[in-house]
């Protein structure tokens, strides 16, 4: 149990003394993240390899899955055309599939396979990705100035204010603007720490309880199934849905 929190970090490029910028790279996380992407790529390739007009079993499952997410994206964003809604579908689907595979990969019984999501850098990166897409598409649909004016608070943009009320309305931006900026940053922090804390916490609970009870394996299998698969899939879905909702709030 003493290894909780240990990480294998490369500070230099191997066999040289060239320093890696940003305090080194966590090589296991990087390897596992790339592995998940590779597996995901192969799976998707396989899923679309021989499409038929009358779908077989595999194609039917994939079509249902994609269709479900298509409906979710469309009902959340409610943009004018179907094509505009579909622009966001690949991002949401990618987040969901990537996070599911990343969360359940530690079920393979080798110490080499560690969830990339148990490293805060991965989830922070994905959170920043989602938030930048949200801010960019918000600015794109509303226009840069309208978006920033909305960040200034509700009193800044009111139309029928005159004289003193107008000045007060403009001054209220001094209060609302920093608050909204902190609120946006808190969104990134909360979305990325949520999945990180759950995944690393489930892993720690499994380690601790396995150490305490030694060899009562049925309980351990059940616990693994619950914590790895159930928590992993639920939080992958929550992450994808929250990203979608943040985008929807930004563009409306």
């Amino acid at each position: 149990m003493d290894q909780i929190g240990d990480r294998l970090v490369w500070y230099y490029v191997p066999f040289t003394d060239i320093e890696i910028p940003m305090n080194g790279v966590n090589i296991i996380t990087l390897f596992n993240a790339l592995l998940v992407m590779g597996v995901l790529f192969l799976l998707c390739k396989r899923a679309v390899s021989n499409l038929a007009v009358v779908p077989g079993r595999g194609q039917f499952v994939v079509e249902q899955f994609v269709g479900m997410f298509d409906n979710l994206v469309e009902s959340s964003l409610e943009l004018d055309t179907r094509a505009e809604n579909r622009k966001f579908l690949p991002l949401i689907l990618f987040l969901f599939m990537y996070l599911i595979l990343a969360n359940v990969m530690s079920f393979l019984p080798t110490s080499l396979f560690e969830e990339p999501t148990a490293d805060i850098n991965t989830t922070l990166g994905l959170g920043l990705l989602g938030m930048s897409v949200a801010v960019y598409s918000g600015m794109r649909t509303k226009g840069v100035f309208t978006y920033i004016a909305e960040m200034m608070g509700p009193l800044f943009t009111q139309e029928d204010a005159t004289g003193f009320a107008w000045v007060l309305g403009k001054l209220s931006a001094l209060y609302f603007f920093p608050l909204n900026i902190v609120g946006e940053m808190a969104k990134v922090v909360s979305i990325s720490f949520r999945i990180f804390g759950n995944i690393i916490g489930s892993g720690i609970i499994i380690i601790v309880i396995s150490t305490l009870i030694y060899s009562f394996s049925p309980l351990l299998v059940g616990m693994n199934l619950f914590f790895i698969f159930f928590i992993g899939i639920v939080h992958a879905f929550v992450f994808a849905m929250l990203t979608l909702t943040y985008i929807a709030v930004a563009i409306k």
Binding site: L72, S76, V182, A186, V189, R194, L212
Partner: protein
């Protein structure tokens, strides 16, 4: 510092820590299980024929809702019997008290929160016995997500037991470890209760309008996830306290700064957690009743939760100011 022998410090820390862990951690789960059993009785009065389903639903709900208290039991045992190699004397005592505080308060919230969906599920089985399966699965998913605050607090408690290194100053150590425990524990208290309340709204809605179960599930997951934001702030401040306090002054000033940051973030998270859980509860029931309006309800819920959480953000700002500016 007070002149006490190291062994006495260790005993003091172990006993207080284990008492906090189990005393607080068992409290919430016990109340929650009682709520479930009470609703089951009330439901049986209405529909005596459903007793097979009712017993099963009640037992599943109590078993899943009891797992926070099992987390508290695990940490409590570790606090009592962990060999004290890494830290010594008063430092060890501070780590044990912090761990007990974190897991005790954190499991209190989640245990209490998990009781309400179990109770509503028993009520729902009596109301709508044909849809027992969808009511039960909605309950289990809701309870599992409502337990994430207690999973966060187990992370902090085990970091206190296995990972942290203590600075030389006893007062600063005390502030860091107990502050981290309060930030995480109290920060997880409100979100645990609140996300349980959201889950209970979703279970109630599912039992009355089973045909909109999918939409209710989505609203519930998002509502719970957002109402757990204060717990995440608590975890953030605990991480900073345990791993990355830069040049905090030593001695009494260090104690004041670190403990103050922990108390501010932790207690500041209780209200927003409960409040935004109530928003989620109402939103789930509204989605159940009017599934056509689901996006409108979802958006309003998110804005309401974001506004009700601005106080948690104020508390976080005060905590970070204390740590990095003073």
């Amino acid at each position: 510092m007070i002149d006490i022998e190291p062994q006495v410090w260790e005993m003091l820390g172990r006993y207080i820590g284990a008492g906090l862990a189990l005393g607080l951690g068992g409290l919430g789960a016990a109340v929650g299980m009682g709520i479930a059993a009470g609703q089951a009785n009330e439901g049986l009065m209405r529909q005596p024929d459903t007793q097979g389903y009712m017993l099963r639903t009640m037992l599943i709900g109590q078993a899943v809702g009891g797992s926070p208290s099992i987390f508290a039991l695990v940490v409590g045992l570790l606090v009592l019997f962990l060999p004290s190699g890494r830290l010594e004397g008063a430092h060890f005592a501070a780590a044990m008290v912090g761990a007990g505080m974190s897991i005790g308060l954190g499991c209190f919230g989640s245990g209490l929160g998990c009781g309400w969906p179990a109770g509503k599920a028993c009520d729902g089985v009596a109301r709508n016995p044909r849809h027992t399966t969808s009511v039960t699965s909605s309950m289990v998913i809701g309870q599992a997500v409502a337990q994430s605050p207690s999973i966060f607090s187990i992370v902090i408690a085990l970091m206190l037991l296995f990972v942290v290194t203590a600075p030389d100053s006893v007062l600063l150590t005390f502030g860091m470890f107990v502050g981290a425990g309060i930030a995480m524990g109290a920060g997880a208290l409100g979100p645990g209760i609140g996300s349980g309340q959201t889950a209970s709204g979703a279970v109630h809605g599912t039992s009355r309008w089973p045909e909109s179960a999918g939409l209710i599930l989505r609203t519930m997951l998002i509502g719970q996830a957002v109402s757990q934001t204060p717990a995440i702030f608590g975890m953030l401040v605990s991480f900073i306290l345990l791993l990355g306090v830069g040049d905090v002054p030593l001695g009494m000033m260090g104690l004041a700064v670190t403990l103050g940051a922990g108390i501010s973030t932790g207690l500041g998270g209780i209200g927003p957690g409960i409040g935004s859980g109530a928003v989620g509860d109402a939103a789930c029931q509204a989605t159940a009743a009017k599934p056509r309006l689901d996006t409108l309800i979802l958006r309003t819920m998110l804005i309401g939760q974001a506004v009700s959480q601005s106080t948690a953000i104020y508390a976080l700002i005060i905590g970070l100011l204390l740590l990095f500016v003073f």
